[in-house]
Symmetry: C2
DNA sequence: GTTATCCCGACCTCGCTGGTAGGTTTAGCG
DNA sequence: CGCTAAACCTACCAGCGAGGTCGGGATAAC
């Protein structure tokens, strides 16, 4: 399993926000009801998105959440990173974050028979990161409206 | 974390086998010592690779394991699939295996606001599968011998 | 001041990962 | 013929993180 439900719920949450009219905050309760997600858990997930600057919140009655930017400007690499914490394909990839989602293998490079699997995992990580960064929230919102066929990948690399 | 140590140890095991001269079985004990891996655990991992037809075993004294095919003909998608069981990016992707590593989302398509995240996870899965299938064991073996620079990706798709 | 909402920290349960233990076969070798 | 090195098998176990719950705050609209 690559991703946890945090990513799943978080993305769903963002999609719901993306479907909403601008500057109209929507409450987590409404989203939890609509998507049938546990409210308390969703709150913690929303906090992750807020800390990452992807959503804004309004407190008090009639408050709620809304996107901090246009859905077209929200790419999924940033989203998944915010939700999952890191995108390490393997345990040895330590969080030496270079500010894109990249993360490095911590294995001592004992100069000679170094960590050979590193090549493989790094390729996978880069591939995933590229896929995620090429998918925007706007696409997902549109997809849910039943337009874009699932096969339609973004510009084939 | 995308992959578990099963994938890590399994790939390492295969690399060691790939470094060995042809038709010369090598014992798990030797590999466990060389790579500092738990022997008992490694046995179970080797069993997975054998069941997938990736390695062959010889029992008894002076026995051991060897690759079932040339390292050039072993792609990593098959390997990781054998080791991890499936390559589902998300829990809802149920094991409806279509015989490539693909696996499908099980969410009821409640015709309308269906599983919008499915688009995203499917893209990721396809990307990972493609990356894995483009990397062969031979490449990793060569890499460990200190030749190929890490940046050298395969033919950019 | 009541109600709807965001916010926050503590807690809990369950399954899986990563491993160990202890055996049973199989086969080379003296 | 028996010793030994290896594959093979099954059961067991500890720790941890995922996935949630709970209860209470702070805040703002009405």
């Amino acid at each position: 399993m690559f991703f946890t439900t945090k990513a799943e719920y978080g993305v769903r949450l963002l999609i719901e926000l993306g479907r909403q009219p601008q500057d109209q905050p929507i409450s987590l309760k409404a989203i939890a009801d609509a998507d049938n997600l546990p409210l308390a858990y969703l709150e913690r997930i929303a906090a992750l998105l807020k800390r990452a600057g992807l959503v804004e919140s309004t407190r008090g009655a009639h408050g709620g959440y809304q996107l901090a930017r246009a859905a077209e400007d929200i790419a999924m690499d940033e989203v998944v990173l915010a939700l999952e914490g890191s995108l390490a394909p393997m345990e040895c990839f330590v969080d030496d974050r270079s500010d894109d989602g990249r993360v490095l293998c911590s294995h001592h490079d004992d100069s000679g028979r170094g960590c050979a699997t590193k090549l493989l995992w790094t390729r996978v990580q880069v591939g995933v990161l590229r896929t995620l960064s090429q998918t925007t929230l706007a696409e997902l919102v549109e997809f849910q409206s039943g337009k874009v066929p699932p096969a339609a990948a973004p510009a084939p690399v």
